[in-house]
């Protein structure tokens, strides 16, 4: 037992190093540029693949080949990060935070497909480090020498970063910019150079983390999102912008996971609990505990308020006299589509209706409530699994199972929302992502209940909903009603209270609004409607898998909302339509649909930072002025 604990402790230390490298890079970039680099995991992945190729090129056997490959990969990733900053992000520093985020999402898609094109879909098994292939015997167990090296890497990098930040002029500038970047700009520091170099350093660290991980874990295409989710947790626990905090948090989390594995199976009250399956729960528990006690992380400080006014949203205007007739006509026309036959269009329209509801629920959270979620798919997925399990395991009829979807989606949002509303801004967003990742892992790992990676199959509704056309009409009706309900809530006192809390929490509090309570209810409501969309999804597809609630789905939702424009309530519907059609078109034309989509998003972000609906509104205004 003791030996096992010690071995797992060492294993945890080794795992902490890579995690620290990625998280600290993310943290430094955020500190200076205020950009949450969602593509940071992609840089890590790129580090893995580049190291694999460079090591093969330099020669696998020699120490120079291996270490040259690792360092070369890290440097190349650093250059890639600097290029991304110069070519993309520099153009949108003044854009709303959300568009910066969208741009980094787009980069995730582009990098993933670039890696697919260059290295293929198969996992690439990494070479082992020459000279460190053996193992050391500790307490009768064998510990890989390479792990011992990794254990040393974390503290060494921490020390070097400390020297860089505290003993060089560049480091002083970075620390100053992290505290007050407007002031640093006023003092005449070349911001462009500073930002580019910070991106180089952050990307270099991510690339190094990936390259060093290669002997322990094969290079694969799924690592980008899973590592960025882990890094978010580390940064949130450690405190944004704090290098020491990132180190501490990485250690804490890696150790907690390792200890869960070390404890293994424990028999309590006659039941066997397998702690090794609860590694994610441990991560969650640590994060929750830290955030309740220290909302800005272990070593973090409350974020400095940016000076200058942000974009001000105009007041809600009641829709024109033609809006409701037009909306009803649109639903009616859509309801008549099946008369043209049960073609592919119907399948596509079902998707659009469901995702419009999903996007509208996310918009409710992001727009009026001002809480950006990176993990909204969790509630969509909870809804679809609730419906699927009620249908399959409990034998509920479809109608009843569909009611379970919003109930469970809402319950999940109620639970996670309690923690989320204690934070704001990017902290909140990262926390939502971490929760989504946890839900995904539970679903993925719990084979006996959720079907694990295979998911649930055989969800075809029986009875009156068996017919495709009827199903389509039902989905259309439920989605339309759901979106209408969300619209009513935004215009009702409750929605106004959410907007009030978003505009000025200080003022809202001073007129008797319990901000957290309203945000909590708002969060739960958004989860409820996402769950409803998920339930519809389960029965329209006939099967669901963990992908239903993966990070990629959350990203899809964000892209839909941002494409449509956050400022308008019709935005999410337009965005969902455009996204679904675009994705379908491109996916049929090329395997590299993600890259095309990513590039399209980048183009849209750089050209129309107001989204489709916003751009349309400006066009209409211009046409009106020109007359």
């Amino acid at each position: 037992m003791t030996a096992n604990v010690v071995i797992q402790f060492l294993n945890g230390l080794a795992g902490a190093s890579s995690l620290f490298l990625v998280a600290t890079g993310l943290s430094i970039i955020f500190g200076v540029s205020r950009i949450v680099n969602f593509a940071h995991g992609s840089l890590y992945m790129l580090g893995m693949y580049l190291a694999w190729s460079l090591i093969a090129f330099f020669g696998r056997g020699s120490p120079f080949g291996f270490w040259g490959g690792v360092l070369g990969a890290a440097l190349a990733v650093g250059v890639a990060g600097a290029l991304v900053e110069m070519l993309v992000l520099r153009r949108i520093y003044r854009a709303p935070e959300m568009f910066q985020l969208l741009a980094t999402f787009a980069l995730v898609l582009v990098v993933k497909d670039a890696a697919l094109w260059l290295w293929g879909a198969e996992d690439l098994l990494g070479p082992r480090a020459p000279g460190l292939r053996g193992a050391v015997e500790i307490l009768g167990r064998r510990v890989p020498e390479y792990d011992l090296l990794l254990i040393a890497v974390g503290p060494v990098v921490l020390g070097l970063l400390w020297l860089l930040m505290n003993r060089t002029r560049w480091g002083t500038l970075v620390r100053a910019a992290t505290q007050d970047r407007e002031m640093v700009a006023v003092l005449g520091v070349d911001q462009a150079k500073l930002f580019t170099s910070v991106f180089f350093l952050g990307a270099f660290l991510a690339g190094l983390g990936g390259a060093l991980q290669l002997p322990r874990e094969p290079a694969n295409l799924a690592v980008d999102l899973s590592i960025v989710a882990d890094a978010f947790v580390v940064v949130v626990v450690g405190g944004m912008g704090s290098i020491g905090g990132a180190f501490l948090a990485a250690l804490l989390i890696a150790q907690a996971k390792a200890m869960c594995i070390a404890i293994g199976d424990v028999e309590l009250f006659g039941t066997v609990f397998s702690f090794s399956k609860f590694t994610l729960v441990a991560e969650f528990a640590i994060m929750a505990a830290v955030l309740v006690v220290r909302p800005w992380g272990l070593l973090g400080r409350p974020p400095a308020a940016a000076r200058g006014a942000g974009a001000v949203e105009p007041p809600l205007v009641p829709p024109g006299p033609l809006f409701w007739p037009a909306a009803m006509l649109a639903v009616l026309v859509l309801a008549l589509v099946p008369l043209g036959g049960e073609g592919y269009a119907l399948v596509l329209l079902i998707d659009i209706a469901i995702f419009a509801l999903f996007a509208a629920s996310l918009h409710f959270l992001m727009g009026p409530a001002g809480m950006v979620s990176f993990g909204h798919a969790a509630y969509f997925g909870l809804g679809s699994y609730a419906a699927g399990l009620a249908f399959l395991k409990l034998g509920w009829p479809v109608e009843a199972a569909l009611l379970a979807a919003p109930a469970i989606g809402g319950a999940g949002a109620l639970l996670f929302g309690w923690f989320c509303v204690r934070l704001s801004g990017v902290y909140l967003a990262m926390l939502t992502l971490a929760f989504a990742q946890i839900v995904w892992s539970v679903v993925f790992q719990w084979d006996a209940f959720t079907g694990g990676s295979n998911g649930l199959v055989g969800l075809w509704p029986q009875g009156w909903l068996k017919d495709r056309t009827t199903l389509y009409l039902a989905v259309l009706l439920v989605s339309a009603l759901g979106i209408f309900a969300l619209w009513r809530m935004v215009h009702a006192p409750f929605g106004y209270a959410l907007r009030a809390a978003r505009d000025s929490a200080l003022r809202a509090d001073a007129i008797g609004i319990d901000v957290r309570r309203f945000q909590w209810i708002g969060f739960a409501l958004a989860g409820t409607f996402a769950g409803l969309a998920g339930g519809l999804f389960a029965f329209s597809k006939g099967s669901i898998s963990p992908e239903t609630l993966g990070v990629a789905r959350s990203v899809d939702g964000l892209v839909m909302v941002l494409l449509g424009g956050v400022q308008t309530l019709t935005g999410p519907v337009l965005g969902a339509t455009a996204f679904t059609l675009l994705q379908d078109e491109i996916a049929r034309a090329t395997t590299y649909w993600r890259a095309v989509l990513g590039l399209a998003i980048l183009a849209i972000v750089l050209v129309f930072p107001m989204g489709i609906a916003g751009a349309l509104r400006i066009l209409v205004a211009r046409a009106g002025a020109g007359r």
């Binding site: 001000v312 949203e313 105009p314 007041p315 809600l316 009641p318 009513r488 809530m489 215009h491 009702a492 006192p493 409750f494 929605g495 106004y496 209270a497 907007r499 009030a500 978003r502 505009d503 000025s504 200080l506 003022r507 809202a508 509090d509 001073a510 007129i511 008797g512 609004i513 319990d514 901000v515 309203f518």
Partner: protein
């Protein structure tokens, strides 16, 4: 009738004693100005009275109910209206909607999910806006309003819960001199007519001495003088704090 009773209020930040043993009372319909040089502890005192800071020691009661340990929204429910040194309004809403929000909250109508908010308490909101002199701005968006007008929006919002006490942190900061006098007139008129107790801080001494019924003077966290404008004007310690040692001549 005493509305606010403060005694022994203290707060330290690290080694700095921001407020020490502060005590005063405030009666209905009375305008009490809290003055003092920068760093005297005025803002700290305000933040303790409105629930944003918890004092280390002391008591503050509003008509017999203790304010200590209550959240800002709970203090508001007891009948305390607030305005801020830097205006805090809902910038994505119109002037009327800002007031409607406060009225909805006062009438307990915020937890409604279906009825449109825009139609609620319109007349009452119009009435409040008229009372602070900006009835004609009702449909303007707060995000594009002139600063002086925003100050009046805040006043209208602060009046929505029919307060017994108004806490106003620098009500005329950032306004043109002419606007200042007019706003102070409005506030003083409201206090007298509606019997509201007003506690305010202010840097503009003309406004303070023209409108306050009583003054309390803070320096380095402690109360150094209290009384009518004339008494405070004649107080040697006040002259010393503001004019330096030579001011006593």
């Amino acid at each position: 009738m005493t509305v606010l009773e403060v005694s022994g209020l203290s707060k330290a930040f690290g080694g700095v004693q921001a407020v020490r043993g502060l005590g005063f009372t405030l009666a209905a319909g009375e305008l009490l100005a809290m003055i003092g040089p920068n760093g005297a502890g005025k803002s700290t005192c305000f933040n303790m009275l409105n629930g944003q800071l918890r004092p280390d020691a002391g008591s503050a009661t509003l008509a017999g109910t203790s304010l200590i340990g209550l959240a800002p929204h709970a203090i508001w429910r007891l009948g305390v209206g607030r305005t801020f040194q830097i205006t805090a309004t809902f910038r994505s809403m119109s002037v009327r909607e800002n007031v409607q929000m406060a009225l909805l909250s006062f009438h307990g109508g915020l937890m409604r999910f279906w009825t449109p908010a825009a139609a609620r308490h319109r007349d009452e909101a119009a009435d409040l806006l008229a009372r602070v002199g900006i009835a004609e701005l009702a449909d303007r968006a707060c995000g594009i309003l002139a600063y002086g007008d925003l100050k009046r929006v805040e006043l209208a919002v602060a009046l929505a819960n029919r307060p017994r006490l108004l806490l106003m942190d620098e009500p005329t900061a950032g306004m043109a001199p002419g606007e200042r006098a007019a706003l102070m007139e409005t506030i003083a008129g409201l206090a007298k007519r509606e019997n509201i107790a007003v506690l305010f801080t202010e840097h503009d001494m003309d406004a303070v001495f023209a409108h306050a019924d009583r003054l309390i003077v803070l320096n380095r966290g402690a109360l150094i003088a209290a009384g009518s404008p004339a008494e405070v004007r004649a107080d040697a310690r006040v002259r010393e704090v503001y004019l330096g040692a030579g001011g006593a001549h």
